[in-house]
């Protein structure tokens, strides 16, 4: 499913946003876009661009806004210009690819993603999207080979789904610098739910072991492609990436877990930090190897003990 549309946070990290009024305006515009007030958002962004026509962040946001307004052609123009001016940034390429894909121009989408990967070889979103593009192109070829009406329909459904996701667009996505392949997109800049209370020193050793076990079981369930068990590790209040609907997120996880012929998740450098007997976070280096994709990332799971069971309330990628 081609749904990784890079949002603002990614770019923000790379460009090290300054804290001036321009940044405020952009943040406001971003907020307006989230609220669906695209006209006002556009006005704000245009105001920024009037004084700083080359501003990458403003242009990127404008691309998101005009796309949200249904003007994909203009969005493509904006992202294309961004790739010309900032060829080192993978996000504009990625979004260009998503837009091309939504128009069924898979060849162009493929080229754009390849460019994103060329600039950032470990850019997992682009890898994942490229996999989806190949699958789409394959299904097009299969359609022509076998005249599969069914698969035509499924292609259409997927594209419609992309538009739905655009509906919730301008969401905060993980920084491009982190690598999470075929894993939930961890929300990067969302406030953590970890209590700020200082860690209690009381017998946290048991908690340490229990959380460590839970983490290992979580990885094992993922490797076994047992999505029911894997999902059972996530607490009801789990922060889904980008504030995604829980059911949609679960469906997406199930699909991604089922799709590869095999998955192997290995963890090393595990560091358990139990704050008290019911709250702990576990950090580790995650090596993900699926049939056609390999990636390594640093990940943090925030666990909370519900009754007797430890459950994940947050999943973060990156340091």
């Amino acid at each position: 499913m081609l749904n990784k549309f890079s949002g603002m946070a990614a770019l923000c990290v790379l460009l090290a946003c300054s804290t001036n009024s321009r940044a405020d305006d952009i943040q406001d515009a971003n907020k307006l876009l989230k609220q669906g007030q695209t006209a006002q958002a556009l006005e704000k962004v245009n105001a920024v661009l009037a004084s700083k026509p080359k501003d990458a962040q403003a242009r990127f946001l404008k691309g998101l806004i005009v796309n949200e307004q249904g003007n994909a052609a203009e969005a493509i123009k904006i992202f294309t210009a961004l790739t010309d001016d900032y060829p080192e940034l993978p996000e504009p390429y990625n979004n260009l690819a998503v837009l091309y894909a939504s128009q069924g121009q898979y060849d162009k989408a493929k080229v754009a993603l390849e460019m994103a990967i060329r600039t950032h070889p470990s850019y997992a979103t682009a890898h994942e999207n490229l996999g989806d593009i190949y699958a789409k192109m394959a299904s097009q070829a299969y359609d022509r080979a076998l005249q599969l009406d069914k698969s035509n329909a499924s292609t259409q459904t997927k594209l419609a789904l992309i538009r739905d996701l655009f509906g919730k667009s301008a969401r905060v996505t993980k920084p491009a610098a982190t690598v999470v392949a075929a894993a939930p997109v961890a929300a990067a800049s969302v406030a953590t739910v970890t209590p700020t209370a200082p860690a209690s020193s009381a017998n946290n050793g048991d908690a340490n072991d229990a959380v460590l076990n839970a983490t290992r079981e979580w990885a094992a369930a993922w490797s076994a492609q047992d999505s029911a068990k894997y999902l059972s590790f996530y607490a009801p209040e789990f922060n889904t990436p980008d504030g995604m609907d829980r059911a949609a997120w679960e469906a997406q996880r199930k699909e991604r877990i089922a799709k590869p012929a095999s998955i192997e998740v290995t963890l090393n450098g595990i560091n358990v930090n139990a704050r008290d007997t019911e709250n702990a976070s576990v950090s580790f280096n995650q090596n993900y190897r699926a049939s056609h994709l390999k990636s390594a990332s640093h990940k943090t799971l925030v666990w909370v003990k519900h009754g007797t069971q430890w459950q994940i309330v947050e999943e973060r990628s990156g340091k």
Binding site: A138, A141, H292
Partner: protein
């Protein structure tokens, strides 16, 4: 359903580099090249090759399937040839069959021999067609001073249910010696039959005698959205890609070009040549014996089970005795003699000629067709009539 893995397909494919091949041959070579690249783990090369192929022939469904597999292999692990999800199994099997047939064609050497079915072409027959259904191949031979010389060959599809047609609607392709007897252009045809069609004279006299029926056996093209069809696809017709049919069609003469459909090509050998000489001698003897007015010797050339329609041998013999008794002289001349042995029917031969007959009280000229059979070492006529 048996699954043909790539590995099995691949060992069959060794690139052939024949010169000045028709487009279809180039395409097959290109397809084989792509599959060979898969074997060598050069998936990019394989995709480039198949993409180039599809650029010129986007309706080549087999190539689309291979392309699908190559792309799918990048997205996820694939199970084998034709990994399309939810694909109808029979359609996939059809395309696997086509892949097998085409790869075998690529591997195959260009024929150097002469088929057993072309004993003698007449001087007006410039070309002859022989179909080997087991190889999904139609061969074109040119008449070079009386000798058949291989020109080219094409991938073809035949009946869904195979060969040896017996009754109308059995979806089988007839096996036998036929002649092109008509042409239909695009305007006269549904798109399904492609750019043109050549009609065959099935059922012929032998088929009718055997009680075989059905009609409308043609050589025709493919629908505009389809480059080629699986090896077994038609309701009995022989189907070629439109551009192949166009190329072949230039050499076909309505009412004259033989098309011999065999389910297993047999090539001429020394024994075959002996048989051929014997029959040619028997035909000449028959002519001489007729002209000699020695009716009983002449009638010995006819088999006991000879018949023309409802006329039995005894009725035929009686009539000949009566007619010949009134003759003081007979002259028989044969020209445009053609002799084509039947496939799948040892010792059955179709003989055609122009017969110039004259006698003291009657003269005529006709195109005659005879079916000769070899009975206990002797060639006999089992059917004769105007054609």
């Amino acid at each position: 359903m048996p699954r043909t893995p790539y590995a099995l397909l691949l060992w069959l494919c060794f690139a052939s580099t024949a010169l000045a091949e028709p487009a279809s041959r180039e395409m097959e070579a290109s397809l084989a090249k792509s599959l060979q690249a898969v074997r060598n783990n050069h998936l990019d090369v394989a995709l480039t090759e198949v993409d180039a192929l599809l650029k010129s022939h986007p309706n080549f469904k087999l190539a689309q399937l291979v392309k699908g597999d190559l792309l799918m292999a990048r997205a996820q692990q694939i199970k084998g040839f034709g990994s399309a999800a939810n694909a109808p199994k029979d359609q996939l099997q059809d395309l696997r069959d086509e892949a097998n047939a085409r790869l075998q064609r690529v591997q195959q050497q260009q024929p150097v021999g002469i088929p057993q079915y072309l004993w003698k072409m007449n001087e007006a027959q410039r070309y002859a067609v022989v179909v080997d259904t087991s190889k999904a191949t139609l061969y074109l031979f040119e008449n070079v001073r009386g000798e058949p010389k291989y020109v080219t060959d094409f991938y073809i599809s035949v009946g869904k249910k195979g060969t040896d047609k017996i009754v109308e609607g059995d979806k089988k392709t007839p096996l036998g010696v036929y002649f092109i007897d008509g042409h239909l252009n695009k305007q006269q045809l549904d798109d399904f039959y492609g750019s043109e069609a050549f009609t065959l004279d099935y059922p012929n006299e032998w088929d009718t005698r055997q009680g075989r029926n059905g009609k409308g056996i043609w050589l025709h093209g493919t629908p505009s959205d389809t480059y080629s069809r699986p090896p077994r696809a038609s309701n009995g017709c022989v189907v070629l890609a439109n551009n192949d049919l166009k190329q072949l069609g230039r050499h076909l003469q309505i009412g004259n070009t033989p098309i011999i459909i065999a389910d297993q090509m047999r090539w001429s050998d020394a024994d075959d040549q002996v048989n051929r000489s014997e029959l040619l001698a028997a035909i000449e003897q028959w002519r001489k014996d007729w002209a000699s007015r020695d009716t009983e010797t002449y009638l010995k050339h006819y088999a006991r089970d000879f018949s023309i329609g409802k006329t039995s041998f005894s009725e035929f013999a009686q009539q000949k005795r009566l007619v010949n008794s009134a003759k003081t002289w007979i002259k028989v001349q044969l020209t445009h003699l053609s002799v084509f042995p039947y496939p799948n029917q040892e010792g059955l031969v179709v003989v055609n000629f122009e017969q110039d007959y004259s006698s003291n009280n009657l003269s005529n000229r006709m195109h005659k067709r005879q079916y000769w059979v070899k009975r206990e070492g002797r060639w006999k006529i089992i059917y004769e009539g105007a054609a």
